[in-house]
């Protein structure tokens, strides 16, 4: 039955507008089975809207050339087929606060039509997987933010999904919980689950995503493997100079090999040659600079711009 070559999600020229605002503007992308795909973009980039279109929570605009297939189905016509094979972890907690952990999961087991005995087994297994077994009888209001997020993930996994959609899964969580969640997502991926997530954290995307799509104002700016994107679009090293005045002396330095970027109070010097940058750094005092490898956030800021948009 399985055809690994077939994409889990195939989106072509998806549009979605609210009044005059184009939230999603001709987006095309492909997510391969058992991979992790991340939407990156500032607030208002259309990440959440695009996610909602995938499982039928939002309707895409009818336009020529538009096509969408999720697990082989078009959400316009087969939302139930998609939803029964997909788990969704929302951005905002929507657990039933009056109830305990077990009751919250039992309710969703009903939604997925899992028979009682099987449901109990699966709930126990998922609580163990998300390291929540000792919280089974706790009320939601007594859980920490990290526990609630883990519970939302457990809830999304109840239907044994082939596709797991997560909207900012680690926003506001402490480093321990973030690491734990990343680890669980890697495990799920190795079990064959396809993962689609949105995030504002570039290190998160770098850690767990096989492919990313950087978007802004509903449009795709870049798509690809994060390491390959870095190699293609960025130098390997950057010297951050935190003192504008100190950066002045570099005004004529090594024009060929260095790219200069002014970012607020800082000046950034990019180069593929760390030797050149460390020579420059040697002329600065210890607290005035930071020499480090270029990361995804540098690329992100380069392509989406450093200025804030009107909803940030």
């Amino acid at each position: 039955m399985d055809q690994p070559a077939v994409a889990t999600i195939s989106a072509q020229k998806i549009h979605k507008s609210y009044g005059a605002l184009a939230a999603v503007d001709s987006l095309s992308f492909t997510v391969k089975p058992s991979t992790c795909f991340a939407f990156l973009g500032p607030n208002g980039a259309g990440k959440t809207t695009m996610m909602k279109i995938l499982y039928g929570k939002a309707k895409r605009d009818k336009k020529a050339g538009t096509a969408l297939s999720v697990l082989g189905f078009d959400p316009e016509k087969h939302e139930l087929e998609i939803k029964s094979r997909t788990g969704v972890v929302p951005q905002e907690d929507n657990l039933d606060v009056e109830l305990d952990v077990l009751a919250n999961l039992k309710i969703y087991a009903r939604f997925y039509h899992i028979p009682g005995k099987e449901a109990r087994k699966r709930i126990d297994g998922l609580l163990e997987f998300m390291e929540l077994s000792d919280k089974k009888r706790s009320r939601i209001r007594d859980l920490s933010g990290g526990m609630k997020r883990r519970l939302l993930i457990a809830r999304a996994l109840l239907g044994n999904p082939e596709l797991l959609i997560l909207d900012e899964p680690t926003t506001g969580l402490d480093p321990q919980v973030r690491q734990l969640i990343w680890d669980k997502l890697r495990q799920l991926k190795s079990q064959g689950v396809t993962i689609l997530l949105t995030t504002h954290y570039m290190d998160e995307a770098f850690q767990i995503a096989d492919n990313v799509m950087i978007m802004d104002q509903g449009k795709k700016l870049l798509e690809g493997n994060p390491r390959e994107l870095l190699g293609k679009h960025m130098e390997t090293w950057v010297l951050e100079v935190t003192d504008k005045a100190a950066a002045k002396s570099f005004d004529h330095a090594g024009k060929k090999k260095i790219r200069r970027e002014d970012a607020g109070e800082r000046v950034l010097f990019y180069s593929n040659d760390p030797g050149v940058l460390s020579k420059m750094a040697a002329r600065l005092a210890a607290g005035q600079y930071h020499l480090r490898p270029v990361n995804l956030e540098d690329l992100f800021l380069r392509v989406t711009g450093r200025k804030l948009n009107e909803i940030q």
Partner: protein, 263 residues
Amino acid sequence: MKSSRHVYPPLLSRILGVWYRHMKVYTKNIFSNGFPPFVEPLIFLLGMGIGLGGQLKLEAFGTSNYVMFLAPGLIMTTAMFTAAYECSFGTFIRLEFDHVYDGMIAAPMTAGNLLGGEILWAGTKGFFFSSAVLLTVSLFGVINTPLALLAPFVGFLTGLMFGALSLLITSFVRTINHFNFYFTGLLSPMFFFSGVVIPVAKLPAGLREAAEVFPLTHTVRLSQALCLSRFSIVNLLDLVYVAVFIAGVTALAVMRLKKRLID
């Protein structure tokens, strides 16, 4: 986690899933939630029966005391109010504040299934509240015909009607305070002019016709038929009205609220 299955839960299971969620949340605080329907009618019957009953000419009501006239109507108004609260304030909070629907709609159910479950739950609460009032008034000997045992089923229909109507109202509401117009402007008049406290026939002209438009009038008449053994051909028309109202208003409410559930 393999893909050979293309199945999803059957229709009834999808709707009952929503019902199950509400039942779980409601019964979590069963004592505080279940207390009002048993006690409120007592207060009302005592107040109206003792206070007002002695002052009335009973021939207008056709019962041997005023409380007997009042009871079948109260069995319906309690169903009306509980269904209305559930599908106005309750629905609005689930939709806008708690985001409960956002989670549910991501599970295998359509917006229509979800709203169908809401209305079914409103009907169930109507049944439960009607039963509570019936039990209370029966204990005091106000009602003593076995046919009255069917009144909670009419309470179920009342719950469905006002569940659907309240969802339709909710589809127009942008801030939760707007429900005040619904409760004060529509439901309160219905309470007084649907044959609950005064027979429709005794209402002044104009109001009498208006009463026939009100949905509550028809289930009150059905409840009085069962509790007071006053059957007539009009009861068949009442049933037709109820069926058409539930079907029509549900369809309208689902059509309009779908747009709030799906962007």
